[in-house]
């Protein structure tokens, strides 16, 4: 009952300044760490979508959702387990160009990991990879042996398998 799980929280909000502050304050007050955050446009015009990743108990996540939805500018918030979502992270590696020339192993790694070179010059090249956290981590470990000059990864973004009936909700509000 009180075991912690990874939950993806999706929040549909008005596109207003200051909201990130209000939402993060809800976690801050409860001393809960947010593993990752992504804020972007959503499928609905002028509606933003927050995607947060947290590791909490189900009881905690329910209460958090209650507090989030209480915010005036939040339209609706949802939480989902990993199984209920299709999710990705994106990452970028900066690696030495010498590796490409001197080490044929690298080509195989790039092909097998389904990553792609998105930029190259005589000093370094940039490799992009999208995938689950595990896939990204695996690639990191492989490349680490060859020397990574820079590494950055995005927060999780997720699409739920279930419908999130926000458009319907908005229509209801308008009607």
């Amino acid at each position: 009952m009180s075991t912690k799980n990874t939950y993806t929280i999706s929040i549909y909000t008005e596109n207003n300044v200051g909201l990130l502050n209000r939402i993060s304050a809800i976690f801050l007050r409860r001393h809960l760490n947010i593993e990752s955050v992504n804020v972007s446009k959503s499928e609905i015009k002028s509606v933003s979508r927050f995607t947060l990743l947290v590791k909490v108990t189900e009881e905690q996540v329910k209460k958090i959702i209650g507090q989030i939805e209480k915010q005036v500018e939040v339209i609706k918030a949802f939480y989902h387990t990993d199984e209920a979502t299709v999710y990705q992270e994106s990452c970028l590696f900066k690696l030495s160009t010498d590796l490409l020339i001197q080490n044929d192993e690298i080509q195989t790694i790039i092909n097998q990991s389904k990553s792609r070179v998105i930029n190259i010059n005589k000093n370094f090249f940039v490799l992009e990879k999208s995938g689950t956290k595990e896939e990204v981590e695996e690639l990191y470990h492989i490349l680490d042996k060859h020397g990574i000059m820079q590494f950055v990864r995005s927060g999780r973004i997720a699409i739920t398998k279930d419908e999130m009936p926000v458009s319907k909700l908005l229509q209801l509000i308008k009607a």
Partner: protein
């Protein structure tokens, strides 16, 4: 429906006029029906003050002596009237001084709009003179806030601010306006806000939940109601009374719910919580169905949650979905405004009387009377008790006064013994427990309900936290009655030190000034009572005065408030001594 004043209809015409942002702020306030606001001027809000000068005949600004006083006065006004209280301050220190009152209003769901001036938009983020990020600072303690940087945003944001502050579960809203926006001219048009897309103030009511709730209540043998301020905020006093009367359910109040039902109502079984009454606390753990109405299971009410009403099915009538299951797991949650949900539920309720069950409360009341109340209200020892002062106030006011209390022992004693015949008569800082609340809140209450007697009951500690508001009384002639119960201690803390820290009275002894001389310095009638035989007359004299009046009562120094549920104990472990 509310009737529109002439001003409002004028303002809501579509014809626009070119005015400055500052004038627009004033026009917005007028359009919202505001005729009184509290505040303190300063550089960044001066353009608005300049407009207030022009509109003096329509909009009365009360200069408090501290911005905290402005917020508490606005709260007192809001709590006495049910309307939105308004407070205004300049940027920087003016704005930060509002925070205590805003936090207090947030936790006690008081409708309030605070307006702050801000440095010019081009200076934002530059650490300019008197710049603070008041939007950032106030975010965790406001229901909503917004920074206006352009004059043309003013009408829409102000309309939204009032709508959000007063609708649903009310709360404080802060609007920060940069100085350039106050100077800019634009075409002003005002339309009241009636909805915000992302905001549903009152959740949809479900018939299913009402039926489930009624079924539990109808089949209960020992039902017990605990009601809170939601009944008052929802203006559901009549519906609430009809509800408990039909089903014959013993009902107890939270601290903030007091006065929603007359104290002497036969089903009123007292107040729950840390210093509440013996019977409702004890029997919380005996009822079979606990019906919570417009209350939020504060920890001061529940004590140890793991031992709170575990035997009972819980029904929760509540407007804020986030409160459901937050502290106490419910069996049935009835979402909605209690005025509506109780009305819909009423016809399905079975008429009942629960005589024997009610008698159990009365039996325990007798125990409390013998052990505590008798000594508080009919003392035989020499020192004056706080309880007998409240008793005299009850008699002199016939239970018709608005009683505003500060925070501490006197607050708990006043809440335990004050008799209320009328709703909106109990004004206190419940959730935040803000010392210094009562004096300014009483000023606001008196201005909101000038026809009513307003008595502030304050400790010697809390009084000195906002004592400067005597100046506001001097200037406005607000006829509040101030009763300071002087025990020369920070009494409530001293009580804890006595009970839980081996009587080590660390920093709770108060060396007090001559309060009478201070009151006289503010040209206020004042009197001091030290002997029992003088008390009744002194209270009478105070109540008969038509003006503001200060009464100091020197009470026993080391008196304690009982019953008491020590922190972490179960409600049924309530102690009588």
């Amino acid at each position: 429906m509310e009737t529109k004043t002439k001003q409002q209809t004028e303002l809501e015409t579509t014809e626009s006029v070119t005015i400055t942002g500052a004038e627009a702020v004033v026009k917005c306030l007028l359009a919202e029906g505001v005729d009184l606001l509290y505040g303190y001027p300063g550089g960044a809000i001066m353009p608005v003050y300049d407009e207030l000068y022009k509109y003096q005949d329509k909009l009365h600004h009360v200069l408090t002596r501290h911005e905290q006083g402005a917020t508490h006065a606005a709260q007192g006004y809001a709590r006495a009237t049910g309307k939105v209280g308004v407070a205004m301050a300049t940027s920087g220190p003016g704005a930060t001084n509002l925070i205590t009152g805003i936090a207090d209003a947030q936790i006690d769901s008081t409708p309030m709009v605070c307006i702050t001036g801000q440095v010019g938009a081009h200076l934002l983020g530059s650490d300019a003179f008197q710049e603070t990020d008041i939007v950032g600072i106030s975010t965790p303690v406001t229901k909503w806030n917004y920074q206006i940087t352009k004059a043309n945003e003013i009408p829409e944001v102000m309309a939204k601010a009032f709508y959000i502050a007063r609708s649903g579960r009310p709360g404080p809203v802060l609007v920060d306006i940069t100085k350039n926006a106050q100077f800019e001219e634009f075409d002003f048009e005002y339309k009241k806000c009636t909805s915000v897309r992302s905001y549903q103030p009152v959740p949809n009511m479900s018939m299913q939940s009402i039926e489930a709730a009624v079924e539990l209540i109808n089949n209960a043998e020992r039902p017990f109601v605990v009601w809170g301020q939601g009944v008052i905020l929802g203006e559901a006093e009549e519906e609430f009374k009809a509800f408990i009367e039909k089903a014959g359910i013993p009902s107890a109040s939270t601290l903030l719910g007091l006065s929603a039902l007359p104290t002497k109502h036969p089903l009123h079984v007292g107040m729950v919580g840390m210093h509440g009454n013996y019977s409702p606390n004890k029997l919380t753990n005996e009822c079979d169905v606990l019906i919570a109405i417009g209350m939020r299971f504060d920890d001061r009410v529940t004590g140890d949650l793991s031992r709170y009403a575990k035997q009972a099915k819980v029904v929760h009538f509540e407007i804020d979905p986030a409160e459901v299951d937050k502290n106490v797991k419910t069996d049935v949650a009835v979402l909605g405004n209690v005025k509506e949900t109780l009305t819909v539920a009423l016809p399905f309720l079975k008429a009942n009387s629960h005589k024997e069950w009610l008698q159990e409360f009365r039996n325990l009341d007798a125990v409390e009377f013998d052990n505590v109340i008798k000594n508080d209200l009919f003392p035989t020892k020499e020192g004056l008790t706080m309880g007998e002062v409240i008793k005299q106030i009850n008699e002199a006011s016939e239970g018709k006064a608005i009683v505003v209390t500060d925070v501490g022992q006197h607050q708990m004693i006043a809440s335990r013994y004050a008799e209320f015949n009328q709703t909106k008569s109990n004004i206190t800082s419940g959730g935040l427990g803000t010392m210094g609340f009562a004096l300014p809140a009483a000023i606001g209450a008196k201005m909101g309900a000038p026809e009513r007697e307003v008595v502030a009951v304050i400790g010697d500690g809390g009084y000195q936290m906002t004592i400067q508001e005597l100046g506001t009384i001097l200037q406005t002639k607000a006829a509040v009655k101030i009763v300071v119960l002087n025990n020369e201690f920070l009494g409530m803390v001293r009580q804890w030190q006595q009970l839980f820290f081996d009587k080590r009275y660390a920093s709770t002894v108060m060396t007090n000034p001559d309060f009478i001389a201070i009151a006289k310095g503010y040209h206020m009638e004042a009197n001091r009572v030290t002997k029992r035989e003088d008390l009744a007359n002194a209270v009478q004299e105070m109540m008969q005065s038509k003006e503001a009046y200060f009464l100091e009562v020197c009470v026993e120094k080391e008196d304690n408030v009982f019953p008491m549920i020590p922190t972490g104990a179960s409600v049924s472990d309530v102690r009588l001594k």
